[in-house]
C-alpha cells in the first residue's frame, strides 16, 4: 500500500529512524485519543492500552486465521475496540474520579490476563506470523486522519459539551447535556482510534504478546498526554514524539538511563508539573506553584518595609487578648 510513497521515504530515512518514526506515529494516535477522554472530557482513564490490545489482536487474528486484508482488518480493529469502549464505558463512566481510574485499570488487567490464557491468541507465547503491511506513509495518513477528526470534534457542539463536562459536570447536565451518553461517546471514539493504532502496531511488529499492552503502557500514554498538555491536541503530538524518541536517543547516548526509562519519565513529569503545570503546550495561564512562590517572594522583598510597619499593631492586638 502506498509503495511509491514508501519508496520515496525510505530513500532518505535509514531503517532505524524509519522504525522510530512508525513507533512515534502509533503513539501519537494513542496519545491524541487518550487526550480526548482525559484532557477534554476530564475522565481519568488508566486502561487505554487495553483498547489498543483489542485492535491489535483483532487485526492479528483476522490476518493470520481468517485471511482478511489489511484495510478490512484495520477497520474491524477500530470498530471492535469501539464496541469494547461502549461495553466498558457504559457501567464505568457513571463512576467519578478515583473510582473510574480503578475500574479502567481493572479492565486493562482483565483483558491482558484473558489474552494470556486464551488458546487462539497464543497465550504467553504470543501471536506470530502477521504480515508486515504497516508502513510509514500509512501511519502518517492515520495520524493526520486522527488529528483532523479529533480537532474537528473538539471544536463542535459535541466537543464543547465534553469540555463542559470536564469543567463542571452538574452545570453541564443542567444546561441540557446528557453527560453519561457524551462520556461514553468520548470513550468510544478514543477506543476506536486506539484500536486502529493497535492494528497498525500488529502489522508493523508482526508479533503480539499480552505484555505489550500492560498497565505500564497505559501509564506511559497518560504521561505523554500530561507532558504535552491536557486538552491540547498539538501537545499530544509533541508529547508522544518527545517521549517516544527520548528513550531511543538515550539508548545510544546514555544506556544506563534508558534502562531506567520509567524513573526518567517520572522525573520528567515532576519537572514539567513544576515548570509548566498545564503541560508543555498548555495554553492555560493558570500559574504553577513555583511561579506563585516566586511572585510571592518578589512581592515580599519589595514590600519588606511596608510589611514591617504593619507588624506592631498586630502584635499589640495579640497581647491585648493575653492573660495579662
Amino acid at each position: 500500500m502506498l509503495d511509491w510513497a514508501d519508496g520515496l521515504l525510505r530513500s532518505f530515512i535509514n531503517s532505524y529512524y524509519y522504525g522510530v518514526l512508525v513507533s512515534i506515529g502509533i503513539n501519537i494516535i494513542l496519545t491524541l485519543s487518550l487526550n480526548l477522554v482525559v484532557g477534554f472530557t476530564g475522565q481519568l482513564h488508566l486502561g487505554h492500552a487495553a483498547f489498543m490490545a483489542v485492535g491489535a489482536y483483532t487485526a492479528g487474528l483476522l490476518a493470520t486465521k481468517a485471511g482478511v486484508g489489511f484495510w478490512g482488518a484495520v477497520l474491524a480493529a477500530g470498530l471492535l475496540a469501539a464496541v469494547a469502549g461502549v461495553i466498558v464505558g457504559l457501567p464505568t463512566l457513571r463512576l467519578r474520579g478515583d473510582y473510574l481510574a480503578i475500574a479502567t485499570l481493572g479492565f486493562g488487567e482483565i483483558l491482558r490476563i484473558t489474552l494470556l490464557n486464551l488458546d487462539i491468541t497464543g497465550g504467553p507465547f504470543g501471536l506470530r506470523g502477521i504480515p508486515r503491511q504497516t508502513n510509514l506513509p500509512i501511519v502518517i495518513l492515520a495520524v493526520l486522519f486522527t488529528y483532523l477528526v479529533l480537532r474537528s470534534l473538539v471544536n463542535s457542539r459535541m466537543g464543547r459539551a465534553l469540555i463542559a463536562i470536564r469543567e463542571d459536570e452538574v452545570a453541564a447536565q443542567t444546561m441540557g447535556i446528557d453527560t453519561t451518553r457524551l462520556k461514553v461517546t468520548s470513550f468510544t471514539v478514543a477506543a476506536f482510534f486506539a484500536g486502529i493504532a493497535g492494528a497498525l502496531f500488529a502489522y508493523w511488529f508482526r508479533y503480539l504478546n499480552p505484555s505489550s499492552f500492560g498497565f505500564m503502557i497505559s501509564i506511559e500514554l497518560l504521561a505523554m498526554v500530561v507532558f504535552g498538555g491536557l486538552g491540547n491536541l498539538l501537545g499530544s503530538v509533541v508529547g508522544a514524539s518527545v517521549m517516544t524518541y527520548l528513550p531511543e536517543l538515550l539508548r545510544t547516548v546514555a544506556p544506563a538511563i534508558a534502562e531506567r526509562r520509567l524513573v526518567f519519565y517520572g522525573a520528567l513529569l515532576v519537572i514539567i508539573m513544576i515548570l509548566r503545570p498545564n503541560g508543555l503546550l498548555g495554553t492555560s495561564s493558570e500559574q504553577g506553584w513555583l511561579e506563585i512562590w516566586l511572585a510571592r517572594r518578589r512581592s515580599r522583598t519589595a514590600q519588606g518595609s511596608a510589611a514591617s510597619s504593619q507588624v506592631p499593631p498586630a502584635s499589640t492586638g495579640g497581647a491585648g487578648h493575653g492573660p495579662a
Binding site: 463542535s156 459535541m158 466537543g159 469540555i163 463542559a164 463542571d168 452538574v170 447536565q173 443542567t174 444546561m175
Partner: protein, 257 residues
Amino acid sequence: MALLEVEGLTMEFGGLRAVDSVDFQVHEGEILSIIGPNGAGKTTVFNVLTGIYHPTRGEIVFRGQRLNDLKPHHITALGIARTFQNIRLFREMSVWENVVVGAHTRLKSGFFSSIFKGPATRREERAARERAYKHLEFVGLKGLETTKARQLPYGAQRRLEIARALAAEPRLLLLDEPAAGMNAGETEELMSLIRKLKEQNITVLLIEHDMRMVMDISERIVVLDHGRKIAEGTPAEVRRHEAVIAAYLGASARAGG
C-alpha cells in the same frame, strides 16, 4: 393553568427531611420569590425542580408534563433553566462558549455532523454564536465575549450565568441568589435585568436573601422554614405575616413585640 405546579413536594436525604410537603404554583409571566432562613430548603427545591434530585414524594408538573423522574437534560429541553448559588461556570471556556453550551438542547448537530461539518452545521454554529453574542449584550457583557469565564469579575460571572441559562430558551428561569455578594449598584442593575426578562415573557422563580430586592421585584412570595411552607402571598402580606416575622427574627421577637 399554572406554568409549574408543585404539590406535596417532599425530599428526604436518609433521615433528614429537607423539603416537607410543599405546595406552590408558578403562573405564566410572573416573578415569584422563594425566601426563608438558611437551611430552609430553598436550593433543594431548585435541585428537585431541575432533576438533580428526584423527589421522595409529591408531584411536579410543568406545562402539563410530570417532571418527577426526568433527568436534568430532559427538563432543560422542556424549558426550565437555572443559575447556581455558588457560581458554576465552565471556567476555562470563553464567555461566548459558555453561552453556546447553554444552547445545547436547541442545537441539532449530532456526532457525525460534529466531525464532518457540512454547510448546515456551519450555518447552525454561526447562528448560535450570533445568538450568544445577543444574550451577552442583553445581560450587559458586550465586548467580553472572548474572555475566559474565570477572568470575569464576580458580578459579571453572575450575569454570565444568566446569559447561559437564557441561551437554553427557557419558559421558566430559576435564579438562585443572583444578588449574593453584589453591591447596591449591581443589585439595582440586576433588578432591571430581571424586569427585562419579564418583558420577554420569561417567568422567573427567584431565591434571594436581599429583602429590599425581593419586596421590590416579586409579585408573590413563598416563605419556607425548616423545609415547610409557612406563608405565601404578595410582598405586603408576607411582610406582615406573623410566622414569617417569627422565622426571621425568632419567636422571642414576636413575644417582645
